[in-house]
Structures are given as C-alpha cells and as structure tokens.
Subunit: 685 residues, 2 copies
C-alpha cells in the first residue's frame, strides 16, 4: 500500500524516461507532455489541480470531491480513525461505516488535512544563513532560519495555516510550502476491510487486484462542512487503455539521487535492520492477535502497518541487491564526478563532497543502533512513551526562543503535536505492554546487556517486568492528564510522578547527546555536501529534472497500461466479476456478505481496479487519478511488485501504479452500501 509511514525522507533528480517523474507543480515538464501526449496544462488547470489535492499529514494523499468538504482517500489511510472510533462491540474496520446524515459523521481525532496554497522560493535565505558553517553550527543555523521562515509564513493563523520549509533536490532548492490546515475531519463512509483490502497481505503490491480501498471523510471548519471551491468532479466512464492520466499526490520519499555510499548504507544497515525488526514484530503481532478477538482488534492497525512496510522494504532491499541497479548508480556518480573534476572551480568547491558523505556513512554505521534505539525511540515502542517524550521535550523546548528549539517543537509545528497529545483515541494497555516489552528486549539484545544506557533503563528488571510496571502505574492514557501536563509546562513536568515522565526526564540527556552527535557528524555533513552535489547536477543537467520525493505535492503523468510478466501479458483492468471469482470464502479472500447479498444487481463487467504507468511511491496512497479534463478516473492505492524498486529508479517496462476505478466506486457506493445521497453529492457538479 502506498502510504508513507516508515522511512524518513532522504533525496536528488534523474534521467527522464517516459512517465518517469514526480514533478513539482511549479516546474512541470510541459514540453515533454506536449510531445508525448499532445497535452499542455494551462495555469488554470495546474491551479485547480493544486487546490483540489490534499495531504493527510500522517502520511497519505487525498482530494476534495464536493463543494461541501467531502474528501476522498484510501481505506488504509483512514483506518487509524476507523480503529480509534471502534469499540469492543462495534468494529468499524470489519463492518464498515456509513453516515446517513451529516450529524452521524464521526470525528477523527488524529487526522490533519493540508491543502497546498502557495509556494515561495527561499533558497537564498536558507543558504546564506548556513554559509561557511559546519556540523552543529550548520544544523543550528538551518533550524533557526527554517523556524523564522515558517513562523513568518504562518503569522497569527496557526489554526488554519501550516507552513513547511521543503528541501528539494537535496539542498538544491529550499521552498516554503503554505497550506490551509484542517484539523476537524470526520468519517463519512468506509466499506468493510474485507472489500477494501480483499486479498490482504498476499495480494498487497500485486495485480490483478480487486480492492475497494476507499474512505470518504469530510473537512469541517467552525463546526460546519468546509466550503470548497476547487474540487474534482467524477468522470462518467473512467479512462480507456492508453489514455493519458495524472496522479496528483504526496509521494513520501525516494532515494534516486543518493550517493553510492549512501545506498550501500541503506542496503547493509538500514534496510536489513528495519526488516529484521519488522519481521519479529510481525510474528509477535500475529500471535498476539490470535489470543482473542479484542486483542486482534487492538493490534490490527499496527499489524497492517508492519506487514505493509515489510513488503515494501523487502522490495527495496531486493532492488539494491540487483547488480544492474548498483552499476547504473555507480556509472552516474562516476560521470558526475568526472564532470566536476574537469572544471577546476567546481572541483575545488564540490570535488570532495562524495568522500565526505562516505565518511559520514562510516560514523552512521557505528551509531545507527544507539541512535535508533534511544533517540529514534525504537527501544521504547509505546504510545505512552511518545506522549512522555512530547510532553517532556515540548515543555523544555517551548521555553526557548522559536529559532533555538528542536525543529519538531517550533511554533509552526505545535498544532500537530497538540492534536496528537490531546487526541481522545483509546490506548490499549495490554497491547502496549507487549510492544514495549518487545522493544526493551530488542534494545538489550542490540545494544547489549552491559551497555550503560540499557542498564540504566532496565535496572534489575526484565523487559516485561519493566514494561508492566510502567504501564500499570501511568496516567498518560488519559488525554486530560496529558493536556494538564502540556499546559503546566516545565514546572508540571518536574513535579509529575508519572513513571513514563520520570523515565523520559532521566533518558532525555543521553538521547539528546546521541542526536547531537548524529546531527553534527552525519546529518549536517550529508546535507551540506548534498547541496554541493545538487549544484553539480544543476550545472550538468539544468533544472529539467524532478527532485526526489519529499512528501509534498507532485504531479505524475502516465497512461493506462498493463505489462508483460515473463511470457504473460497482464491486462490493465480487472472487473467486479473477477472479485467474485477470486473469492474463496476464507479471509483475506472472502468478499463481505454485503457484496454477496447484491451480487445479482451488480454490473459484474464493471471495471474494478486498473494499472497505469504513473511514477508514484509510498505517500501517494489516496491520490486522485485524473484525466486531462481534471475529472477523477481512479483512486491510487498501491503499486505493483516492480514498483517497489521505484525508490531508486523508474523502470517503464514494469513499474505500475494501481488504482480503484472511478466506475467501481460509483457502482458499489449505492448498490452495496446504500450511499445514494453520497453518490448524489459526488456527482452534483
């Protein structure tokens, strides 16, 4: 599934193949589009597309589909809300949900929606703020200028305005993205998981596919449905094979312009360690889920995320193990270094950048384990710990001037932090005990039983003993307690006797120390030298390329097209009838009763899912797929198995994105789900 959940963004631009590219909306390859498809987007088309698109801040894409704030995204993008609004006796994931009237729409406690409204280039300001600096000084200066720029952009409207400094081309450009922020979003419609995720993990990242991976939300403002001027109408018939289609969404991160030493680190360290961690978590979650239906419900959201992340990263590892990929990357790097070396001025300024990044990789390999465990929180995998960290650090950081804070506590970021902290979503203590106990165990395994930090955390207790003791005595599961601690600031924190707060207070200094080392010796070295390499690329290639994905709005153009798998031609469409044929009656291949009940009334020939050549990646989940008229023809929810290598390169022969066909949404919305009013709203253009 194409959501952006597990990997932090890294970064840089590549050679253009047909359909390749995640283009920023201020730099579309209009000439190429015209040449290949006879279509040149007008400024009005681009603006409408930008304003009709949306981002779910947690890691997905979305779109506005009615004037009354109706928002379309994937089921798996809204499943956290479905989960949070479920109870032991009412399971919205299993049963689905439809609000018959507006008053029945259920608020989602942790979904923030962003709509991009303005892009401002700030490259000069950012670069001049860090000019001549290194290490910790570079990082501090960059944090300070970013905090200043975002605060200035937000002004006094932080409830409705969000501004982020976006780093494009790995430091080649810095831009301020100004968003309209919606924090009141509500659940309107979701099918059952058995329909949304038919085929489950086995079919994930595969095609042919039969998923109705959709959820409708509604954005509210001032307690009323938001009034939306720019939204996407639905196409009547969808797109035909070969037709030009666009995906407008938020690809999370790609690593197409990393240096070879960075790719080596990713392959040998980051991916292997992450996969091994996920594999064991998966085993624990699977077996925990079998202990009771309620346990299964509590673990479901995390299990899905783990399985999805595992499959996605496994595909990336396989790609990085492909000698052809590594050879291409090595050749590109050699060519660029040669280009630089031939020009003395460039060579003097940039020539050393690759080796500096390679040296930083060696440092990273040494500190990856403690950095991830202690500062990255891998050793403390629990919601309670996340709350404690936000409360403790938030109190310390808010006491500082905006420009001197850790960037995640800068003024412009606080509304998101507060939304999470004050969320009324339930926390399941028994489930949290299992996950926290596991992560303490892994911390002891990976850092070693004699590591000073580990001994400080565990004392004489076993991981499970400590986990249970902490969770049995904390009050942080109560949002009112969290709110009081947040509002009470440093004084309240220091006075708190909550065991998680006390633990985090004790552990914050070593966590900050390892973070500082990482920032100084790895991150700032990479950032500074990546900026130089980006300059070399601009010099070599101009700005006719696209930047690596950064979870910001991008447009991909492509066409409806199958592919050849070995000797077998894969057709671009599936049908609703095909879903019934694939039904075995056993989860995850069992269509829900609601489908079987109306099978006679359904148009079994209706196209269901489709594949296109659009270049997307995790984070694009929930993106609208539109035609040249700006009408919705599909809803992106996945890529095929070959698309997993898309993190590193785009192969037009095999890389395909997968969408729900617009016609299948309309066909099932009223016939299966009784959503005729909703259908009317969507079609009322």
């Amino acid at each position: 599934m194409r959501f952006h959940w597990l990997l932090a963004a890294l970064l840089v631009p590549g050679m253009g193949m047909a359909a390749e590219g995640m283009w920023t909306l201020d730099n579309l390859p209009k000439a190429k589009m015209q040449a290949e498809y006879g279509f040149t987007p007008t400024d009005a088309w681009i603006k409408r597309t930008m304003l009709g698109s949306a981002r779910i801040a947690g890691g997905c894409s979305a779109s506005f589909v009615s004037k009354d704030g109706l928002v379309m995204t994937n089921h798996h993008c809204a499943s956290e809300c479905l989960d949070q609004r479920s109870t032991a006796t009412k399971n919205l994931i299993q049963d689905g949900f439809l609000a018959k009237r507006r008053e029945e729409e259920l608020s989602c406690p942790e979904i923030e929606l962003n709509r991009l409204e303005q892009i401002t280039d700030v490259t000069d300001q950012v670069k001049s703020a860090t000019a001549g600096l290194d290490g910790a000084a570079f990082k501090s200066a960059q944090n300070a200028i970013k905090a200043k720029l975002t605060s200035a952009c937000v002004g006094n409207d932080k409830e409705t305005v969000r501004c982020d400094v976006v780093d494009l081309y790995h430091g080649g450009q810095y831009q301020v993205y100004k968003y309209h922020r919606f924090q009141d979003t509500r659940l309107v419609w979701a099918p059952e998981k058995a329909a949304a995720f038919f085929g489950g993990d086995p079919d994930n990242f595969n095609f042919p596919r039969y998923d109705l991976d959709i959820t409708m939300l509604r954005a509210y403002e001032g307690g009323k449905p938001a009034k939306i001027e720019n939204y996407f109408p639905f196409s009547k018939n969808g797109a035909e094979e070969g037709e030009l289609v666009f995906v407008t969404g938020q690809p999370g991160s790609t690593q197409r312009q990393l240096t070879v030493s960075q790719l080596d680190t990713l392959r040998d360290v980051t991916l292997v360690n992450t996969l091994l961690r996920l594999a064991e978590m998966r085993g624990v979650l699977e077996q925990y889920s079998k202990s009771s239906p309620e346990a299964a419900r509590n673990a479901e959201h995390m299990l899905f995320g783990v399985e999805n992340g595992y499959k996605a990263l496994r595909g990336r590892l396989t790609t990085l193990q492909d000698p052809a990929l590594m050879k291409q990357k090595q050749d590109e790097e050699t060519a660029l270094r040669k280009y630089v070396a031939q020009q003395p001025a460039l060579q003097a300024k940039i020539g050393g950048a690759w080796d500096e990044i390679a040296a930083a990789q060696q440092v990273y390999r040494q500190i990856e384990a403690p950095y991830g465990m202690i500062e990255g929180g891998r050793g403390f995998n629990s919601k309670y710990f996340s709350y404690a960290r936000a409360l403790v650090r938030g109190a310390a950081e808010r006491a500082k001037p905006n420009g001197e804070r850790l960037p995640e506590y800068a003024d412009a970021k606080l509304p998101e932090v507060e939304q999470e902290l004050f969320s009324t979503a339930p926390v399941y203590p028994e489930f949290e005990k299992v996950m926290l106990g596991l992560s303490f165990t892994k911390m002891r395994e990976i850092l070693g039983a004699d590591d000073a930090f580990v001994k400080r955390v565990l004392g004489k207790q076993s991981p499970d003993q400590l986990s249970a003791a902490l969770i049995d005595h904390t009050k942080l599961g109560d949002p009112a307690v969290r709110k009081a601690l947040w509002q009470g600031g440093r004084e309240a924190i220091l006075k708190s006797d909550d065991p998680f707060i006390k633990m985090e207070l004790a552990l914050d200094p070593p966590a900050r120390a390892i973070r500082t080392r990482y920032e100084k010796e790895v991150e700032s070295v990479q950032q500074k030298n990546s900026e130089l390499i980006a300059q070399a690329r601009f010099a070599q290639q101009g700005t006719s390329t696209y930047p690596d994905a950064t979870f910001t709005l991008r447009l991909s153009y492509g066409e409806v097209k199958g592919w050849k798998e070995g000797d077998k031609q894969i057709a671009p469409f599936t049908t609703i009838g095909g879903a019934f044929e694939r039904d075995t009656g056993a989860d995850p291949f069992a269509l829900p009763a609601s489908w079987h009940a109306v099978k006679d009334k359904l148009n079994l020939a209706q196209r269901y899912d489709l594949v296109t050549t659009n270049d997307i990646i995790g984070g694009n989940s929930g993106s609208p797929m539109i035609n040249r008229n700006g009408e919705i023809v599909g809803l992106i929810f996945d890529g095929n198995i070959h698309s997993l290598g898309g993190a590193f390169w785009y192969d037009p022969r095999f890389n395909r994105s997968i969408a729900v066909h617009s016609g299948a949404i309309l066909e099932t919305l009223d016939k299966v789900y009784g959503g005729s009013a909703l259908k009317q709203e969507i079609l009322a253009h």
Copy 2:
C-alpha cells in the same frame, strides 16, 4: 551456542594463522605445533583423542569421561532430551535432573552417539565413478558409489556401525569415516537451565560469561552401561593463561573456501532470507510462550534454537557485509585463478570452474524460494510433516536398490531415520498448529497466492484452517502408527487415509521435481567444479592446509587467552563469584535457588568459564577441551561475538572459543547438585 543446527554444509582450505585450523586427525600440522608450542602429538595420543571423542548425530560434540560409558556434552546439546522427558508437571529444563542410581537414568529417545574408529581414503573410487559425467548423471553416480562404499563398510552391523562418505576440501578428498554407533543413551545429570544458560540470549556469544552448560549422558549397549576403554580423565586444576589446549570435536560447517559468487549468494539470498524467517518465527514463539506455562514449555526448545541460530547467522551476515572480508576473498580468488591461468594444462581443465559456479548461483537465486519451501520443507514446518515425508519417501526408496535411492534413505542411513520415526518423544498438537499455520502463510507470501503449488496445497482454505484440519485428523503423533506404516511399506502408505500422508503423496512429485532441478543445475555443477578448484589449491598450496568443516572430527590447538575489546582488556577467566555479582533476580539473569542455598559453601574464587584461541564453529558444542596430557580442562559451549565471522575467516586477534572450566564442573557437581557419586566416577581414573 556452538551447535550445528541450521545451515547445510557448503565448502574449501585457507592460509594458516597461529591457532587457525580445524585439522583432520590424519593430517595434523605437527611441525607447526612443535614450532609454536614445543609439542608433537604421538600416534598414541592421537588415537586416544580420537577414541575419547564422540559426536551427537543431531549436531553436537561430546566425549567419554568414564569407563562406564559416561558422556559429557553441553546442556543445550541434550536439552531436546530434557524437553522430551518432561511433562506438564515435571519440567527437567527448569528443574534440572540427577539420577541418583543407574536405574533412574532416563533414556533419550532421539540421541544417537557416534565414535570415530577408522578413516579410509576413497578419493579414487568416488572420482572414477563420476569421471566424465555432468548434472543428473554426475549426481546419480556419486550417490551410487557412496551407497556402495558405506554399505560395504557397515556390513551386517548396522546397529553398531555407522559409515559416512566425507567430502573434504570440497571434493579434493573423499574418505569413509567408520563410527561405532550408540543409539541407547540415557540422561544422568543436568543442571537447571538458569545455571546452564545463565544470561540467556543476551549473553549468548558473549564473554565474560557464567554458564554451567553441561549435561552428562551415559551410553548403553545391550541394556548395560557401555564399557569404554578410551576416555578422558579430568585435570585437577585446569589450564593456566597462555597454556596450550586442544579442542577435539565436530565443527559443523565453515565457508572459508567458497568462491566469491557463492559468498555473494550466501549474503544476499540465503542469510537474509533465513534471518527474516527466523525473526518472524521468533516473534511468534515468544508470544505463543506467553499464552501459558505449558505453551512456554512446548515452545522452549524451538525458541532456543531459533534465537541461537538468529544470533549466529546475524554475525555471519555482518561479516559478509565487511568490505575487508570480501576484498580478501576476492584477492585470494584472483591469485588462484591467475596461478591456474599461467599453466595451460591446468587452465584447460580448471580455468572455467569459477564461472560455472557463478552461473549455478544465478539458477539458485531463481529457485531458492520454491526449493526451500517445497523440497526443503520450510513451507511445512511440523513434526507431522517430517514423519509423513520420511514414511512416504522411505517406502518408495526402500523398494529401490540401495545405490539408486535418495541418499538419506540408503541402507546405512536407515537406523537414524528409524530412531526418529519410532521415537516416543511427545508431539504437541496445539504448538504444531501454530508453526504449520505460520509456514503455510509464509509459503503463500513468498511463492505467491497464485502459485500453482500453493493453490494445490491450500485449496480454498486459509493457512490456519488447513493446519488445524490436518492436525485434528492425523494419527501420526502416535509412534505405533508410524511404526506400522513404516513396516507396512508402500502398500500401507497408499492405503492410509491419514491427511498428512495423503498430502505428502500428492506433493512428493513436485517436490522431487524441484530437487532434481536443484541437483542437476546447482549442486552437481558446484560439486564438480569445486573438485577442480580443490585440485588447483592442492597444486598451489599442497595439502598443508585444513579442509572446511564437515561435521566430522577435527582437532584445534590454541591457548588460554583473553583479547582486547576496543580499549578494554578482556581477562580469560571468570569466577563463580562473578555469577553471583551478575545475578539480578530476573530471568535470564537469575541464578537458581540451588546455588543461592549453598553460596556460603562454594569457592567463589573458583574459575568458572574461560576463553581460548581455539578455532571452532557450530557443531563444536560439547567438545572436550584437553591439555597436552589428554586431560579435560574445559567443556566448549560457545564462541565470542567475533567468532561468528569464523565461518569465513579466522582472526586471531578477536576470535575466541568459550568453555566451562573443569574446576567449576567439579566444584558444583557435588556442592550444588549432590552428585558426589558421579564426581567419584569421573575422578576414578
């Protein structure tokens, strides 16, 4: 832990560093030993050493330590027996065991003990049988000559004689190893796991260490304790720092002479896939163990094996990711190829061997998943399935002439097959359901839900449904049923309506098909060309090197010596007092009550565990460590974390083996465990 459980042997010899080498007893480096330590073993010394040493066929080493058949090995080597002789109310793993009288000794249903008695070179016979052959014909001819040679060696004494053809130097030499076979072994003494495996997984492969990893068994013949002429007496004081010590045991497999393409495959495919599988199994087993004490008991043996294997293979992967290792391997290979290329006769015969092996790797990468799942049984991880396969294949194979059978059903192998099949060890159906359901799930994930074989296995059932249906209806948990089917041969098998038998009958043809492809296109290509490379090595280096480990008897010489870990000097000995200092009271760092009860009486300064420079690997677990007088000074049970790279190279700076000190065994045997009669038996020399 140094037992040999997870990886099949692969292959070839290296450059000698001090203490490096797992030497066959007929080719000891006597001149080197004399030069380095002033010691030359006499023929009598070598013979005594050979006859005092033993192998546990399941994957460990052992030694004879009294004239009445007393056998010393590790607790973790005998823990399967402890597990099998436990019940829901009597847990020998947790509580330990001591037979006060011979009649109380408990028979171990699946332990076979082997004592090497004779080595015969058969290189010419084996090579002439396969001369000029390729692929399937090569493999068949090799199977046939091996079956013939082992049958001739065993003669009519298959209950007490076992013969194996051993492939040394990856086809450089073939030898017949003739063993005395003991199938009646009984449990005499085992400490509690809390003492044997103090520190558990966190301390595994680490030092300083405080483990009493010992179990005493007794070999019986004709219902009486076996009379043993050659056994090792215990040293009174153990060995001092710097003293020459020997390890005589059965290292399972090393990969020091693989080609670079084989190492690449191991790194990218075998190790990564195995680790990911083990990580998920581990998560399932951990969580399953938490469901009840009985579940924990049922899962304990497998969980230990999985955790131990995981840590060992993780270390191997890290080593293979080390550019220094790969560069050394590449340099060695380049030098050998250059040496061959300079001699036209050699080049004509051998020059293509590396490329042929590399081509076979490409085939292996394609078929690794189905081969492992279907023929390797990874998709059917259950004792019931293992029984069904042995019964179905055994019936088919025994109907063929000895030389035409799958080699695991050759006459000389049948006693081991029968011991497992007729074993009275309990099978736990609920536990088996979990593991089989998981392996079906993984098979569907890795081969794909649309794979023809997967569809044939699962039909319309989910993995867990099928697993439960099979296990609820099988009778193969009953050893009498298995014995009847084995004795009934093909007719009984074809008439059986046991669901596992029926499944295996249906799946055997595709399993044999993928095996045949593997043998033809991978294994025989590797074997044939490895023989050629071995010839090149002999030409270049002579036979002054040692062969890769093959789970056959080897001698390692080295000395008692710590090492430098960063800035810190690690001393070679720990003490019993140190164990009490490390005790936290929480498992796995809680010494048992039996120790605390007698703490006052124990000599806390007694040396407990020690490290030496001996070159060992998995399979050496349970090896006696002896001094130049042939006296036991320790009991090998592990290697340090650096020793995990020993699969690929030996680094004398860091690689250390870990043993229990002989003095600690004697100190605790009577004071903690009341085993004074046993102590007397050991000391009665």
